[in-house]
């Protein structure tokens, strides 16, 4: 393992951040979810965005409404979420910057053309947003003309073959080797030492899971080192709510079936996050 | 705090409904309290009308007219609302007569002033101010007794 590889916590550092287009600083979308290629060394392949990525993460009625509304207005037989290949990502900071010319989402283009563009003084030039024909950033979903509404309820949305979504790993119940409940997945640790993407950058590999003893939602970044527990009152409160937080390496995980995570080793043998 | 925020629209509706209508009076005491509140609202409206008449030289025409119109509107809605509450017993009838006599007098007085103002100014401002002062203090005494 490369000692200097960048380490990120998916939920804390990547999910829900703003995606910015490098070439003109245009705000494109949020990192609504991440596409993962499973296997022995799973790694992140793409940023997913739009209602079809956010909806499943929201869950419940709002999520259902969001995905179904989106499908209603989509032209393709099997709409997938808006997708930006990870090889385009140039920087992960307070925002995620992407190179190339990923297109705007369908709703923006439709509104520009049919509503805002028709009001005098909009002075927009939608042509600037025309996609450049690069192989990796033409998601099927943006290919159709969104203004052509075909009011048919779509089949269940399908991701690309052989991929899963990182959002699905969060909030899962974790069981120990003998089936007892050990905790809840709170975050996914990513290390940038995966396979090369587009021959320049290494992919973010899923290195392991952060597991909180108690189910209490997000960690808000307070799982990190003690220097980052400020303001102390808030830090103490959040850490108390979650109980102990431990870290399971990917090879300590036996299976990921049935919306549960089963560990191959007992809770006591997992590393504490203080060592990270 | 999250469920609270989800309840906000519901709470708004409840609150709007609560404040939009006058609830029925349960007993004599409750009725008297309502009468006191009514008198209090009327005092406020009469005072604003009085201020406009007393300081008429310091105000622009449209402004004074707006404030007077509001005073008339407030008084008439106060009358309508309280008049619609059923007095629970005979003894409450007396309270009702007393407060409505005052508020209705206030309404007609201020409405009168508004008409004069729109025509060619208040005819006898000093008398009007005295009259409004008297009304306000009577209403205020009544409110003081029934709180």
């Amino acid at each position: 393992m490369n000692e200097h590889a960048r380490v990120l916590h998916a939920r804390l550092h990547l999910l829900d951040r703003q995606v910015v287009r490098e070439s003109d600083d245009r705000l494109l979308c949020k990192v609504d979810d991440l596409e993962v290629r499973p296997g022995d060394r799973p790694y992140v392949t793409a940023i997913l965005s739009g209602p079809l990525a956010l909806g499943p993460r929201l869950g419940g009625l709002p999520g259902w409404l969001m995905t179904e509304t989106d499908r209603l207005f989509r032209g393709e037989a099997r709409p997938g979420p808006y997708r930006i290949d990870m090889s385009l990502v140039t920087d992960v900071g307070s925002a995620v910057r992407v190179a190339g010319h990923p297109q705007d989402l369908a709703l923006e283009r439709w509104l520009t053309r049919n509503v805002v563009g028709r009001i005098p003084g909009a002075a927009g030039t939608p042509e600037q947003d025309a996609p450049e024909s690069t192989a990796q950033d033409v998601p099927e979903n943006t290919a159709g003309d969104a203004s052509e509404k075909t009011l048919r309820v779509r089949e269940r949305e399908e991701d690309r073959p052989d991929t899963m979504r990182l959002g699905g790993l969060l909030g899962r119940t974790v069981r120990g080797p003998s089936g007892e409940v050990a905790g809840d997945t709170a975050d996914v640790r990513l290390v940038q030492d995966g396979p090369l993407l587009a021959e320049v950058r290494q992919a973010f590999r899923l290195a392991g899971l952060l597991i909180a003893r108690r189910r209490a939602g997000r960690l808000f970044g307070y799982e990190r080192g003690p220097g980052l527990w400020r303001p102390s009152l808030l830090g103490a409160l959040v850490r108390r709510m979650h109980g102990e937080i431990r870290y399971a390496e990917w090879d300590q995980i036996e299976s990921l079936d049935d919306d549960e995570v089963r560990l191959g080793v007992a809770w006591d043998r997992l590393r504490s996050t203080a060592d990270l | 705090m999250i469920p609270l925020a989800r309840l906000a629209p519901l709470a708004l509706l409840t609150a709007l409904l609560l404040s939009a209508c006058v609830s029925p009076a349960w007993d004599d005491h409750d009725y008297a309290l309502k009468a006191g509140k009514t008198a209090e609202s009327a005092v406020s409206a009469v005072r604003f009308a009085r201020s406009v008449v007393a300081h008429r030289d310091r105000m622009t025409g449209p402004y004074a007219e707006v404030v007077l119109t509001e005073a008339v509107r407030d008084l008439s809605s106060v009358n309508d609302q309280f008049g619609g509450v059923q007095p629970p017993s005979d003894s409450s009838d007396r309270v009702r007569d007393e407060v409505l006599r005052l508020t209705e007098r206030a309404e007609s007085e201020v409405a009168d002033l508004l008409i004069q103002w729109r025509r060619d100014g208040v005819k006898d401002p000093e008398a009007a101010v005295r009259e409004l002062d008297g009304l306000a203090s009577e209403l205020s005494d009544f409110a003081e007794k029934h709180r």
């Binding site: 030039t125 980052l228 102390s232 | 709007l16 449209p62």
Partner: protein, 407 residues
Amino acid sequence: MKRLLAVTLGILTAFGGFVDIGDLVANAVVGSRFGMSLAWVVIVGIVGICVFAEMSGRIAAVSQRPVFDLVRERMGPRAGLVNLGASFFINVLTLAAEIGGSALALELVTGINYLLWVPPVALVAWLVMWRVKFETMERVFGLAGLALVVFIVALWQLGPDWGELTTQLVRPPQDEGVPTYLYYAIALLGGAMTPYEVFFFSSGGVEEKWTRKDLVTARANVFVGFPLGGVLSLAIAACAATVFMPVEAEPGSLGQMVLPVAEGLGKVGLGVVILGVFAATFGATLETALSSGYSLSQYFGWQWGKYVVPGRAARFHVTVLASVIVATALILTTIDPIKVTEYSLVFSAAALPLTYLPVLMIANDPDYMGAKVNGRFSNVLGSFYMVLLLVVALAAIPLMIATKAGQ
């Protein structure tokens, strides 16, 4: 020299833009009923908005991320959506109140019913947001809002019993119940710390392309401009306490609220104060309408802002237009704008922790802030306010129901 001018201009803008219909209504009503006995709440509110606006301005300058980005990023999509729903609802309610306020100000000048003024006000506001540059827009209405300084002059002209006003500071009137007192305390706090103020302040920082170098400007705006705005709030309350409280009059309309200025300064003062009220409410109309666009766009990651032409931020401008239309329709139902304001203040108070918690977290995150993380002082104050806001949020709605909205 040029820098000094910019800083001064920024301060004056923050000063003039601080008071909106909420502050106006809350302070006038509270002054007439409780005298100066709730002045401490205004001060608590000003310190609070300073602490959190400074943090959000600093975050915007260092990382170019406005407040609702932080809400989504730190609270996650679900809690973020709840927050978005609450903030958006309050925003539209406040927007309706501000449009109503501008229309009422025009009624006071012309005598023409305010309902007739509502559609033109909304249309002009939208045109300004569609075409006028952000900086120009903010400056013009912020500076015109300075006309409200007449409240201070009027107070001095009315020659109040200063000793009486001072004793009121610590002695609440005996004939008001404790729940009512607390209810109005919450409304005042909601008025001073309205969430849209930080949405707008931080998004404005991004619109004006603040960098680390602009931290001085941001801090000057916050630490000088906002407290001056607070002084204005107190002057409004003191005017009401001087003129209305002794005669038991409770102002329930905009016309009645500016009466002390007319009594103190006559026609000229009246003209200036109505101009000030119009500028303040119209400016706040723009701020709240843009804030609804900001919050929705920043949650979903849409391109937002007036720094790109409207055609390049289509979803943002559609959101702004839609909220203006909804708010206009709400006011045209003849619902009383002052009542709408009173409700929106209390709902704002209930939603405060949702907005300020992520700001406090990110202001401590070195990944974002590098060396500009919160100092000890900001953290102690920030933590104190989080506890306070949590209590306020839990108490707001029950108190509203218990006191029948302060009757």
